[in-house]
């Protein structure tokens, strides 16, 4: 366990939400913390006043802040009302209080949004991000074991799981520095979902990053790259028509249908996993997939016929060996040019 930092100095409190919002160098939602100093300072009411003023500017009344602060039990975490109000204001501003971007949230909508958050977990995450000992003590009591189990489940190995969990602990504690300030991913927790779910998602991200890195370190001897296929002659016209029809059919799919097809056929997720993610029953996923493939076949036939093939020729074209097609369904389904996991910096 890494040594816990001392509470940040009171002078850094003024950085708060405003600095997080304007700091373009940090990742969205990340809270930049000053480096721990040897002399802890105490928070004074004069320091808190600007945060409360900022919160008031965005519509959060002091009474609502006090109410939410009490409901979150932030006092026991040594999280002040001002710190909590700053976090709430930042989250509300980031997500526009769950309203469309062009809509201005009324105080009622703001209050409703804030009340819909997981205030206790949000206060715990913010307090941990600020390096408060009571918060860390509670965090470890509540989430250490579940986080380790989740890491083992994600990594598929106890050793890798413990390593993954330990690395995340260090990261959460804010050992990484950026521009001379400690940064903790916990500050990006918005409270819309559960803190444990957020931790699991973060673990999954770190595990995939680790997988990307380690896969690139695979020795070349282990790589048995297939020889390039001999260049063949020009594709028959039917195959060209088929490839074009497939591209058009997949492009016309709704995002949900594309997600289903990608999850089931590309990611090889089970119906249960898909159903749990979409919060529907397995049978519903199965029916959707069946209906989706059926409609996709019909759409392919229509596309082929619209391309000049007769119905019989279109049906024969559908019976072509998929290996003869120069189609990358993954590319077709995933139109976005997703960069490598290791190159992604938008997470966190």
């Amino acid at each position: 366990m890494a040594p816990r930092p001392n509470p940040p100095p009171a002078s850094s409190k003024t950085v708060g939400v405003s600095s997080k919002v304007v700091d373009t160098a940090s990742q969205p939602g990340e809270l930049t913390l000053p480096l721990p100093s040897a002399e802890p300072t105490l928070t004074t009411p004069s320091d808190v006043q600007p945060d409360l003023a900022h919160a008031s500017v965005i519509g959060l009344s002091p009474a609502l802040i006090h109410e939410l602060w009490l409901a979150a039990g932030a006092e026991s975490l040594t999280l002040t009302r001002e710190e909590f109000a700053s976090a709430l204001a930042a989250i509300g501003a980031k997500h526009n209080f769950a309203l469309p971007s062009d809509t201005h949230a009324t105080p009622v909508q703001q209050a409703a949004f804030c009340r819909s958050l997981r205030l206790a977990e949000l206060a715990l995450a913010q307090a941990c991000a600020l390096g408060r000992d009571p918060a860390w003590q509670r965090f470890l009591d509540q989430y250490r074991a579940p986080l380790t189990q989740a890491a083992i489940a994600i990594a598929g190995s106890a050793t890798l799981g413990h390593d993954l969990a330990d690395s995340l602990y260090a990261e959460l504690f804010g050992l990484s520095e950026r521009a001379g300030r400690r940064t903790s991913p916990l500050a990006s927790y918005s409270g819309r979902g559960s803190l444990l779910g957020w931790l699991r998602t973060t673990l999954a991200q770190r595990h995939i990053d680790h997988h990307r890195r380690t896969r690139r370190e695979t020795p070349l001897d282990d790589l048995d790259a297939p020889a390039p296929a001999p260049s063949t002659g020009p594709q028959p016209a039917e195959l060209a028509h088929l490839a074009h029809a497939v591209s058009r059919a997949l492009a016309s799919l709704a995002p949900g249908d594309r997600f289903l097809l990608a999850s089931y056929f590309l990611d090889r997720q089970t119906l249960l996993q898909i159903s749990r993610l979409l919060h529907v029953h397995e049978a519903t996923v199965s029916r959707k997939l069946k209906r989706l493939t059926s409609s996709l076949r019909k759409q392919l036939l229509r596309n082929l016929q619209s391309g000049g093939l007769s119905k019989r020729a279109a049906e024969e074209a559908l019976g072509a060996d998929p290996r003869d097609l120069e189609l990358n369904l993954r590319t077709l389904l995933q139109t976005s040019q997703t960069p490598a996991f290791s190159d992604k910096r938008c997470h966190m």
């Binding site: 997500h95 998602t201 991200q205 976005s336 997470h347």
Partner: protein
């Protein structure tokens, strides 16, 4: 989320977690889903971050239903089901047979096991008979005597041609005169197809095997019979062992010959068509009627009359004697005179038969209480004892006269009351 996810941007962990937990607004949910549909990396993160599937809740074990033991064993050993069933059926059949035999030993099928000892009788102690013609011999089979004509006398003629109206005592296919040295009474058996005559055997006189004597051809028989009768009568009290009586009886006379020239009760008048219940008679005492429910033989004492004595095996006796009553119950007591037969079953119902037991008609109950026995009124000259399953039969009152067969029946109830009837149909308190 205020701005849609731009290409190349990925939702952060908070947004992915909120999407997985359905905590996002609808527009943001759709935007995230659209990104997930095209981003394999974010999909992988989302699926990896899913908590493990909850294990199926252990359903409580249903209460064990009590199944029949046979059913469980049947499932466990299906190949033993058929043998077990067969064994059970066999045991059931054996038990049924056993109990039926125990309950109705008289239903043992009769066989023609009656045999008459061919050993010539020892010289009778009695003086020579005065009427040698009355001694029947197997070799000489004259025409039946007039007394026996039309009757069911156990004469040789009737034995040869049984009228089937008899009561079950059939002559042996090889009629012979039994000797006192014959096997014991129990070994004597009477042929089932008894003549319509007396069908009667007496032990020890009966033990002394009866032979179908022909009166005209057996002149010495009356004397032998008389001597035997005297011997029997004198030692009636000693005849508890029919065996001994059989040893002592010098000879047995058939009832077709009456003593002193008179027709005997068993055929002298041609009306002594007694039931074969009266076979195997053993004179236990001078009492007219005695009850012995467990008796397996019937005792008849013949006195002062030529009698046809035959022996029957107990089993054959029961099988042949006891009638099949309409009530399907075993006969408790059976009595018969020359013309009519009465039978009392174990339920106390009385039946009457006028055709020697072929058909039975119930007799209306005219007495109070439960009838326990039926008998013929005892005759002073003829002590006729029958002992069959507790039933008592009394010798016909007019037996000694041989002119009028005994016709008065007597019924005893469980209260000890006596009821008499001349015809077995109408009864009066005695």
């Amino acid at each position: 989320m205020t701005t849609p996810i731009q290409p190349g941007q990925h939702p952060d962990a908070d947004q992915l977690n909120a999407f997985a937990e359905h905590a996002l607004p609808l527009d943001e949910q759709q935007a995230t889903l659209a990104h997930l549909a095209t981003c394999a990396g974010c999909r992988a993160i989302v699926y990896l971050a899913q908590p493990p599937a909850p294990e199926p809740t252990a359903h409580p074990q249903p209460a064990r239903t009590r199944t029949p033991l046979f059913a469980r064993r049947k499932l466990s050993f299906p190949m033993l089901a058929f043998p077990a069933a067969a064994a059970a059926l066999a045991c059931l059949i054996l038990l049924t047979i056993h109990f039926r035999n125990a309950a109705a030993p008289n239903q043992i099928p009769a066989t023609n096991t009656a045999h008459i000892d061919q050993t010539p009788p020892p010289p009778p102690p009695a003086p020579p008979t005065s009427n040698p013609a009355q001694i029947a011999t197997p070799q000489a089979r004259p025409a039946p005597s007039p007394h026996a004509s039309g009757s069911s006398l156990p004469s040789a003629s009737t034995r040869e041609a049984p009228p089937r109206a008899g009561l079950g005592l059939a002559p042996s296919p090889a009629p012979a005169i039994a000797t006192p040295a014959n096997p014991p009474l129990e070994d004597k058996k009477v042929a089932p197809d008894a003549v319509a005559g007396i069908g009667y055997s007496a032990a020890p006189a009966a033990a002394a095997p009866a032979s179908p004597l022909i009166p005209s051809a057996a002149p010495q028989l009356p004397a032998v019979a008389r001597a035997a009768a005297r011997e029997l009568r004198s030692s009636a009290s000693q005849y508890d062992a029919p065996h001994a009586q059989a040893q002592q009886a010098p000879s047995v006379a058939t009832g077709s010959v009456a003593s002193n020239g008179k027709p005997g009760i068993y055929g002298g008048t041609g009306q002594t068509n007694l039931n074969e219940n009266y076979i195997a008679a053993v004179p236990l005492s001078n009492a007219a009627v005695q009850t012995a429910s467990a008796a397996t033989s019937q005792t008849v004492t013949v006195a002062n009359a030529p009698s046809t004595v035959d022996t029957l095996d107990a089993a054959t006796l029961h099988a042949k004697v006891l009638p099949q009553l309409p009530s399907k119950l075993p006969a408790l007591s059976v009595v018969s005179n020359a013309r009519r037969q009465l039978a009392l079953d174990t339920a106390g119902a009385l039946f009457r038969s006028d055709d020697a037991g072929v058909t039975w008609q119930p007799v209306p109950i005219q007495w109070t209480g439960r009838a326990v026995s039926v008998a013929l009124l005892p005759s002073p000259s003829l002590h006729f004892y029958a002992k069959s399953l507790g039933g008592l039969t009394a010798p016909p009152a007019a037996a000694k006269s041989s002119a009028a067969p005994p016709t008065t029946f007597q019924l005893t109830t469980d209260a000890g009351d006596l009821w008499i009837s001349p015809d077995g149909q109408t009864w009066k308190r005695k």
